[in-house]
């Protein structure tokens, strides 16, 4: 007789569902705790016969189902209401009705997958192909059409003779003693083989790293930053003048930039007169354009105090006697045509804006050389004596 320590359990086979129900209820009544019934399919009434408690698997489902709901809602709340709020279809940032479908799907997904994983991995301890029952004649019979019962040796009441007697009294088809299995050694888990795998992995990765990073130079992908197109300010062979940017065709007239008839003439004709009345709106425009284009050299108030720190020759003050006596048309002419070092501003400032600048220069000039009458008017309008 083999060593009893090696016994896993003693099994009996029956070939009728009625017999196994009777056997199970008898074994349950005799007070064994570590025993089991193996049937090719769930037999009705077996849970009661074995006095098993109802499955608690539902709690896993509930927990993970609710987790799915929570995760889905939190994810959508964070992404669409906090991290990147965006009005879509006039809905609020947290549009609960529109979030229901995804919430539902995630709930179902987590609930079902977790139930199955928890059942097999934690409730059953599967996969386990090394279990002593596996591969025995007993399980092979059960898999087809027999119904088996097994009392395990780890049961506190277990004794080979009494258990065999009990099983025999139930009139089984056969009785089988099932022994513990020897641990199977798999060659792929041998230490030598694992070490071999590690060494191969290290050599391959080190070799790849050295080859790709040190021996070869691979141009990194630059996300289309270099493209075969002509960009502004660049040289090109395509055009004869080798410039990437093109000048407009000769004779092109841009909107608001009528050609100036007195280009290159020293003195403008006298009939060139200011078409704009200095309204408040017009002066605002003039101020804006003056501060943008004129003030860098002429200074914010036209004093000729360039803020270019003398990198260019300082322009004359706009408050000199000579300039104050200029006709409006003359100032306009200078802006349009340029003078001495000053280039033409015809390309940047359209004619209406140029006349507005002229009006604004007149305002600057008058404010620098205000008469008593002007000051009184300012005092009256502002209600202060600051102007004096």
């Amino acid at each position: 007789m083999p060593d009893t320590k090696n016994i896993y359990g003693i099994a009996a086979l029956f070939n009728k569902p009625d017999d196994i129900i009777t056997a199970a209820s008898k074994i349950a009544d005799s007070g064994y705790t570590k025993w089991d019934v193996n049937t090719p399919y769930p037999v009705h009434g077996m849970d009661n016969a074995m006095k098993l408690k109802p499955s608690k698997l539902g709690f896993v489902t509930l927990f993970f189902g609710l987790s799915g709901t929570t995760i889905a809602l939190l994810l959508m709340w964070y992404t669409l209401s906090v991290d990147y709020p965006l009005v879509i279809g006039g809905k609020p940032f947290f549009a609960l009705p529109a979030f229901i479908p995804v919430t539902f799907e995630l709930t179902v997904l987590l609930a079902t997958v977790s139930t199955i994983v928890a059942m097999f991995a934690f409730f059953f301890g599967l996969p386990n192909n090394d279990h002593p029952i596996n591969d025995t004649n007993y399980i092979k019979k059960v898999s087809v059409d027999h119904f088996g019962v097994i009392i395990e040796a780890s049961d506190p009441k277990f004794s080979q003779t009494t258990v065999e007697q009990l099983l025999k009294s139930l009139n089984p088809v056969s009785i089988e003693v099932i022994y513990q299995k020897e641990k199977i050694r798999y060659p792929i888990f041998e230490k030598k083989f694992i070490m071999f795998l590690v060494v191969v992995a290290v050599i391959v990765s080190a070799g790849t790293y050295v080859t790709l990073d040190k021996l070869m130079f691979l141009l990194p992908f630059n996300w289309m930053m270099d493209q075969a197109k002509i960009i502004p300010q660049s040289r090109t062979e395509l055009f004869q003048d080798e410039r990437g940017m093109r000048a407009p065709v000769e004779g092109t007239v841009a909107r608001g930039f009528l050609p100036y008839p007195f280009k290159g003439v020293d003195e403008p004709p006298e009939f060139l007169s200011n078409p704009l009345i200095p309204t408040k709106q017009n002066l605002e425009l003039g101020k804006k354009k003056f501060l943008t284009f004129c003030s860098p050299c002429h200074g914010n108030f036209g004093d000729g105090d360039s803020r270019l720190r003398g990198q260019f020759p300082n322009p004359p003050s706009l408050h000199s006697e000579r300039i104050r006596n200029f006709e409006d048309g003359h100032i306009y002419h200078v802006i349009t045509n340029g003078k001495n070092v000053m280039p033409s501003y015809a390309a940047q400032i359209d004619c209406e804006e140029r006349w507005a600048i002229v009006n604004y220069i007149r305002v600057l000039q008058r404010s620098k050389n205000a008469s008593d009458k002007d000051l009184k008017m300012v005092s009256q309008e502002t209600g202060t004596k600051d102007a004096n």
Binding site: P17, S25, Y41, G58, L80, P101, V102, V113
Partner: protein, 457 residues
């Protein structure tokens, strides 16, 4: 008088448990015969046609398709809705009939579940290729990326991503859970060492223990409970793709129930089509009996009438709404340039299934085969009608157009059928097409008789 209160035996011919098992695993134990090779080479060739058409599309772009400006959805979305619908029968049979304690489901549930998975795989291809840049499909998932952007969770198209992927995962889990006891049976009966290793891995070492069965049955019920609303939600969400838009013919609240009924209708028809062939080829007439097919035909008749009711309701609502555009779309469906498609749809889906009122026709294999194939055709045309006739003429007559599918479109559609049938054929030869443990459990004498005052049942 026949006593209808007693259900006929689910398994015919008084088979013993062992004989049931022998019957089911026979295709797995025998070498593939000539019929198998002919079948797989036909389906494989059709699949290759689809693969070539897809590669052409990837190389030249979606301009090879018939999709144009008014009809931007075209074949890809028609096929997507069609295949998702096919899948629904599997879950319905395995989950809803399980909850309703319809024991006859055991013979066909495994097969229907497998078809669900294959149909959803076919369906999943289409929205992805329809984007034109399938390699960017990963952007549909919400993950923190360098763009700093998230997907639009209020869009039905994103709902689709979640619904279809959840559906595929849950169907697969459901299917595999059902397969585990069968893998254990296969493991214990095989004599080949390679097969034994493979089955051992997939059976996870299942021991048929009753301490496991108690949880297993609970889990199966929970899964069925979740799969039931899931299957309804999937086609509801697919119908939202249409119903949430403002297009006449799409913007209607009847779409969710209408789509779900249509999905079950087409799915049952597809399951019947395949089962009729499979039970013949693999000698499973005792397990997948004529009673099964008759019950399926009753479901087809019922859902077919639901679909017919939905067609009628749509017409009533368009008239009752008083919206001229809405009314025009429906008149255009019936009498417009696509009236041939509409009348194919109505005759295949509503008129021909009425023949199932006659018991003789319900139990006649050749007539049944013709009708279920017509239903498949009709349900494909239903999606064609919904998509093409609504899109090709909407509010602005100057933007009207016509949709003519290209050869590449037809090739990809054929390829999806090739993929489906290739997977089905491989499945019949590698896995038990009928759940062995479930059929054993419902066979005569499979359960305790509760005689002699045994009160444990």
């Amino acid at each position: 008088m026949t006593d209808y209160s007693v259900e006929p035996s689910l398994v015919r011919g008084r088979l013993t448990l062992e004989q049931i098992e022998e019957l089911v695993v026979k295709p797995l134990d025998t070498k593939p015969d000539r019929k198998f090779w002919i079948a797989i080479s036909i389906s494989g060739s059709v699949l290759m046609v689809g693969v070539v058409c897809l590669l052409l599309t990837f190389y030249y772009g979606t301009g090879l398709w018939g999709n144009n400006e008014p009809v931007g959805w075209g074949f890809p979305i028609i096929n997507f809705v069609f295949w998702v619908g096919i899948g629904h029968a599997g879950t319905l049979i395995s989950a809803i009939l399980y909850l309703l304690r319809q024991k006859w489901r055991t013979g066909i549930a495994r097969f229907a579940e497998a078809m669900t998975i294959f149909a959803v795989i076919c369906a999943g291809i289409f929205p992805v290729i329809h984007t034109g840049r399938p390699w960017l499909a990963g952007y549909l998932l919400p993950y923190p990326n360098q763009h700093g952007l998230w997907v639009n969770f209020t869009s039905p198209l994103v709902w689709d991503v979640f619904a279809v992927s959840t559906y595929l995962t849950v169907s697969f889990v459901f299917w595999y859970t059902g397969l585990i006891p069968d893998f254990a049976t296969l493991r214990d009966r095989t004599t080949s060492k390679i097969k034994k290793t493979i089955y051992s891995i997939f059976s996870l070492g299942w021991r048929h223990s009753n301490r496991h069965w108690i949880h297993y049955e609970k889990a199966y019920a929970l899964l069925a409970g979740f799969a039931t609303p899931l299957v309804l939600s999937v086609h509801t969400i697919v119908s939202f793709d249409f119903a949430v838009s403002i297009l006449p013919g799409w913007h209607t609240t009847i779409f969710p129930p209408y789509f779900v009924a249509g999905a079950i209708f087409s799915g049952f028809a597809m399951v019947s089509t395949v089962l009729i062939i499979v039970r013949k080829i693999f000698d499973l007439e005792h397990i997948i009996t004529l009673d099964h097919l008759e019950k399926m035909n009753k479901v087809i008749l019922a859902t077919g009438m639901m679909v017919g009711l939905a067609y009628a309701t749509e017409f009533f609502m368009s008239w009752y709404s008083g919206v001229p555009e809405e009314q025009f779309v429906f008149i255009n469906r019936v009498f417009g340039p696509y009236m041939w498609a509409y009348w194919i749809m109505v005759s295949c889906n509503v008129i021909f299934p009425q023949l199932f009122w006659f018991k003789k026709i319900r139990r006649s294999i050749p007539v049944m085969m013709v009708i279920v194939i017509l239903v498949n055709v009709g349900m494909w045309f239903e999606r064609f009608v919904i998509i093409v006739t609504s899109l090709h003429r909407d509010f602005l007559p100057s933007s009207w157009g016509m949709y003519i599918p290209s050869l590449v479109d037809i090739g990809i559609l054929a390829g999806s059928f090739g993929l489906f049938f290739t997977l089905v054929i491989l499945f019949t030869k590698t896995l038990p097409v009928v759940s062995i443990s479930e059929v054993k459990a419902v066979s005569d004498g499979g359960q305790p008789s509760n005689h002699g005052g045994n009160n444990y049942a």
